[in-house]
Amino acid sequence: MAIIELKDVTKSFGRVNALRGISIKIDAGEVHCLLGDNGAGKSTLIKILSGVHKPTQGQYEFDGKPVELSSPREALDMGIATVFQDLAMLPLMSITRNFFLGREPKKALGPVEVFDSGKASKITNEELNKIGIEIRDPDQAVGTLSGGERQAVAIARAVYFGARVLILDEPTSALGVKEAAVVLKYIVQAKTKGIGVIFITHNVHHAWAVGDTFTVLNRGSSYGTFKKAELTREKLLQMMAGGEELEELAVELDLIAKRDPSEVGKLEHRVAEELDRETHPKQ
């Protein structure tokens, strides 16, 4: 049974319809990729899943029961951990303090409870080692970490606090090829622990490398959800490019054809080349 299910969810911000009639299911132990162009509604969708926004219409079910989340903390307590695109970590705070922010381990000191920084540092170190990150000093500022390492810390934190669903909003978008590969590895690690991972990306290759299920959004609507076996990388790429763009391209080609027929061949050739390069990048 799915851990999370959205049924026919709509989200409007005033007159902007960010999402229209979205239905989606997240299973345990799968990587569910959410794809789509800029402004397609990916972040809005996961903000609904993580309790930041409430759906304007439609139903949110957790373990088969309808729920209404009113804060990210509530989602977190249910085991839905999110690494947001625009804000993963507080750069001037130490790794340990970031790791435990909002869930600080406490120890009694006489009548008062204090932050158990020794325990916090120890756990942070252990958890990061588990996913293969060597940190020289867990008390160093998060700002000293690379983008990939920050994502790793955020993922390790979610796993440590017993996440059942892990939502990652474009964790690889700001990373180089090597770092992205490392983050993809963490995603697979989380999946093998039985966590349902929602992986948002623009990059079809990243999605294809780790995804089991794919949902493609376009301007707030869904093209549908597909298992990997039902798809090819090329089909996915085509869906992502969006019917819209292809239509525009056709119109453009038409116009050029009327003006200068000889140009059409060249343009078609160039487009084919472009598409080919996107599908088979030389890395």
Binding site: P72, L92, L101, G102, R103, Q140
Partner: protein
């Protein structure tokens, strides 16, 4: 090397270095004129305490990403809330003191609530409270007393149970110095050793990120506005008991000097980084400079120029150190 790095990235490093520099400077220039005597030391500690009691709470608020410009006016208001009922209406001092603290907590709560609710910069909200508080203090004092001063508190103080903890000089050091030291220890401990302290950093570092992991950002900020207003009232209480009088202008510009002390102490103006100890060292520097100039031949009016130069130097130095903190691996 790693240990050295750790020291280098402490926020108060710049301030401690500067404090030593300032001390050595005045020891050389004014050492023979009394700067190094016990009395000289007590004097600059006393001036430091006036800044320090405010600066430690201002530092916490600043780390949480907010300002409170109204604390100077709060000092003036609290002084009158204590002095007028005691001298004119015969209230016992303890009652007037409690009312003043209660009032400051309400003002702090309103400041914080408005900032959190409207999402306007606290600079603007508390600038409004600065004028409101000062204006009401002025207007009501004149309406009630016909003067801008209230004096004659001294006659009512003996035997009052609350006055004792705000007056006197245990071990030869004025009570304000003890309060300053106590607040530094307690607030410094809260900041680095409790979950609440962690939330203060988070609220100023990135309020949205903090809220998303369940930090009660609004509560943290509002409670800190209440703290700054309360420390302003603490200072006002100590002063009105010490001098037996107060003036509607008491505390003017104190808010800016407290911010200056906090910034010299390595607290980041935009939040998310800093230390209580740093603010205390910053206040100590202000005290030493203010008193040190007095012991030299230099006209004391130069104090403000020195303060300005120090502030600029501190910001540049701290900027550099923070850059190092983020670079160190």
């Amino acid at each position: 090397m790693a240990a050295l790095r750790k020291v280098l990235v402490r926020p108060e490093l710049g301030a401690v270095t500067a404090a030593i520099g300032v001390f050595v400077f005045f020891a050389i220039v004014a050492g023979s004129r009394g700067f190094l005597t016990t009395q000289g030391t007590v004097n600059y500690l006393e001036v430091g305490a006036e800044h320090g009691i405010l600066a430690v709470s201002v530092a916490l608020l600043m780390i949480a990403g907010e300002f409170d410009l109204s604390i100077g006016s709060m000092i003036g208001a609290a002084g009158m809330i204590i002095a007028i009922p005691v001298t004119k209406f015969g209230w016992p001092p303890w009652l007037a003191i409690l009312v003043a603290f209660a009032f400051s907590l309400v003002v702090g709560y309103l400041n914080g609530w408005l900032v959190v609710r409207t999402r306007l910069p606290s600079f603007i909200i508390t600038l409004a409270s600065l004028y409101l508080l000062r204006g009401f203090t002025f207007g009501l004092t004149i309406a009630l007393l016909n003067y801008t001063r209230a004096s004659g508190m001294g006659a009512f103080l003996s035997g009052d149970p609350l006055v004792a903890i705000f007056s006197g000089a245990p071990l030869g050091l004025k009570i304000s110095i003890w309060w300053w030291a106590g607040l530094t220890l307690v607030l410094g401990w809260v900041l680095f050793r409790t979950p609440y302290g962690n939330w203060i950093f988070a609220a100023g570092g990135d309020a949205l990120a903090a809220r998303n992991v369940g930090v009660p950002v609004a509560r943290v900020k509002i409670s800190l506005f209440m703290l700054t207003a309360a420390t302003a009232t603490l200072l006002a209480t100590i002063q009105v008991i010490d001098t037996g009088s107060t003036d509607v202008l008491r505390g003017e510009l104190a808010e800016l000097e407290a911010i200056a002390a906090a910034v010299i102490g390595g607290n980041l103006l935009t939040g998310g980084y800093g230390s209580v100890l740093g603010a205390t060292v910053g206040a100590l520097i202000l005290g030493m400079v203010q008193q040190g100039i007095f012991y030299t031949n230099i006209d004391t009016n130069w104090y403000k120029a020195v303060l300005g130069a120090m502030l600029l130097a501190a910001v540049l130095l701290n900027n550099y150190l923070r850059y190092q903190a983020l670079r160190s691996r």
